[in-house]
Symmetry: none
Subunit: 212 residues, 4 copies
Amino acid sequence: MTQVDTQPLRRRTQAARREQSDRRMLRAAAYLIGRRGLHATTLAEIGVRAGYSSGLPVVRYGSKFGLVDTLLAAMDRWCETTVASMTGGRRGLDALKARAEAYIIGARTIPDGAAALQTIIVEARYAFPELQPRIDAFLERWRLGFRDDLLDARRLGEVRSDLDCDAYANLILGAIRGMTIGRFGEDLREVQRELPPLLCEMVRQALALPSA
Amino acid sequence: MTQVDTQPLRRRTQAARREQSDRRMLRAAAYLIGRRGLHATTLAEIGVRAGYSSGLPVVRYGSKFGLVDTLLAAMDRWCETTVASMTGGRRGLDALKARAEAYIIGARTIPDGAAALQTIIVEARYAFPELQPRIDAFLERWRLGFRDDLLDARRLGEVRSDLDCDAYANLILGAIRGMTIGRFGEDLREVQRELPPLLCEMVRQALALPSA
Amino acid sequence: MTQVDTQPLRRRTQAARREQSDRRMLRAAAYLIGRRGLHATTLAEIGVRAGYSSGLPVVRYGSKFGLVDTLLAAMDRWCETTVASMTGGRRGLDALKARAEAYIIGARTIPDGAAALQTIIVEARYAFPELQPRIDAFLERWRLGFRDDLLDARRLGEVRSDLDCDAYANLILGAIRGMTIGRFGEDLREVQRELPPLLCEMVRQALALPSA
Amino acid sequence: MTQVDTQPLRRRTQAARREQSDRRMLRAAAYLIGRRGLHATTLAEIGVRAGYSSGLPVVRYGSKFGLVDTLLAAMDRWCETTVASMTGGRRGLDALKARAEAYIIGARTIPDGAAALQTIIVEARYAFPELQPRIDAFLERWRLGFRDDLLDARRLGEVRSDLDCDAYANLILGAIRGMTIGRFGEDLREVQRELPPLLCEMVRQALALPSA
DNA sequence: CATGAATGAGTATTCATTCAT
DNA sequence: TATGAATGAATACTCATTCAT
């Protein structure tokens, strides 16, 4: 019986150590990448800021690419969960508005993470071309979310039946990205206040039925 | 007499040589920066690709910062000229549409330059913080252009009188930037076809008078 | 009473486990060192390839030096045993021929071990200078073996009485080493076919009595 | 005329600087590699020992591989020249003896270079597999030299007509390599004294005509 | 006995910049 | 004006070793 109890305990403890250092390092990575940029952020810095040695990041993630890949995957999951909970039970334009808000809210809830995400999306293009598929998938998921909301809205009769949902989904995502990019750490709060109602207005007016 | 004649001649020749090497190096810089990113592009590469030695860029511009600064200033001037000629004689929404088209057209006319511009705007934030004022000024000029067009349109009665021109100018510029960013070298033509009419439609419908 | 019985049993089991992991790790070490070289082989790899954790090699041997030292000692013993059994009952040139064959046969019987041995002999000079005495002793034992065979042959009248046995022992060992070094994993079979008869011929003709 | 004179002068001076640093760095590399081994020798050390900065070796040779490749090529040329001058005008066994002496003499003339050469031949197998073709070519040239000497000796009637020249060339080269390997910096002088006459004796007795 | 998390010193490589020509 | 040789600081990555479990 001792065996049965100690084995899992040991494993739980080792796993816990690993999990904790994992969390800390990803948090430190997001903090630093969002502030100094992907290139200027050192693996050693990340390890030290997380409270560990300079070598741990490489031991854990194998390489800088591995760390960024892991970080991106974690943030991807976080976005997925947040968006799902915010758009749950909503449909059409209502869901679209919630989805847009989720993007902004992410930046408010975990500003470090959001800043790092934007930076990685932009800098990784040159630094880690192998990461592009994951980045594209991330953006595509957002785009498809907006598109499906618009398609749903069309089905519900909230917008004109001839609306080019794909094009408008692009426009919406582009606007959100274009307005938040490179503006972390400064006047993001302003964007948070301005952008959602603006999009709502645009959505209501530009996409609504001619009669509306 | 020989002195008097040769000196100016020499000077003219020297100036011409300088001008030519200048043009070539900035062109090479735009080409490389747009493709590999600001950080991955080395001064030596730029010099060699321009057909000169690896050391010339530093001799000419003093430092990497100096080169990027010069390049940015040149592209700024180019944008200014293009926009002025395209919006010349137009007012209100008509001018706004032309201005938006100018942004896209720039990417079509000098794709290397446009790609480099986007890259610099994003990467310089971390690499050359001293460059930020110039970048901000560049973007601000675009934003003010759109804002003034909207204000003009409001004065002309083309849009609602309570329109938040500043906010919409931000939205428009953000959409343009967000949709073109990181998409150079691939499907930019698609953006060129889609974006301008989309913005036109949005402008027409979202900003128009309620009666329209 | 339970104590008295289980203790030895446990110990025997522990000893067996230790012995098995020992065998496996040395085997894995030989395999990897022979293939990738001493420097490129990591302790972690050895542990994992042996079917254990990455940390076991250090726990068992204390350090990389300790492992190599142990491995070398084991191979030394193996050589000693093999040579003894192959030269047993023989004398003079007959024994010399058998000894030379033993060197080659080792490479055929345990190719991984032979390759690792060669690699260690060469790389350890720089990596583990402290190991040099053991290496020198190993080579010296071979040299002395050949020398004694030659001295015996001289006593038996098989070779000229003025033969420099030390010098020729060096030559023979050198030839064997020089022809096998760095050729593991490739055309060693060719060497196995060629070298022994060649040495035999040389031994027979070069060292034989002038009259022969 | 000034042009005509200064241009070459400038070029000669720059080229001279380059040539000098080249010579110094290769010399320093040979010295260090022969003493500490290929792996333990640092590019920075090489640069500093040559009297330059730690970064110059990479700037000049691109990488550690590039440096070793260059060094090997230089030593290859040196060997070629030395062997050619020493065997010039000789034939058969006489040429073979001179060739064997050249190998040893090289170690006496440029002991650092010879030691580095041996080390590189052995260590590069694992560290720089891409270098293997050059190494093989180097060894093959020696082997072919000995073989051709033997073939010539056979033609001249100096040795038995059924002699396996390829096999014996292997044996001779193997013996030379096996007896010098890993013995640089210590008792190489002894080898220098012992080996050539030993090979001569072997050649004379083992390869000679039965009647001789 | 065995695992695996964490350390930290060492090294090849990059490249903006300086400087001799 | 232009070349290119030389500098040196910065950083990703490796891995033997320590230590907690």
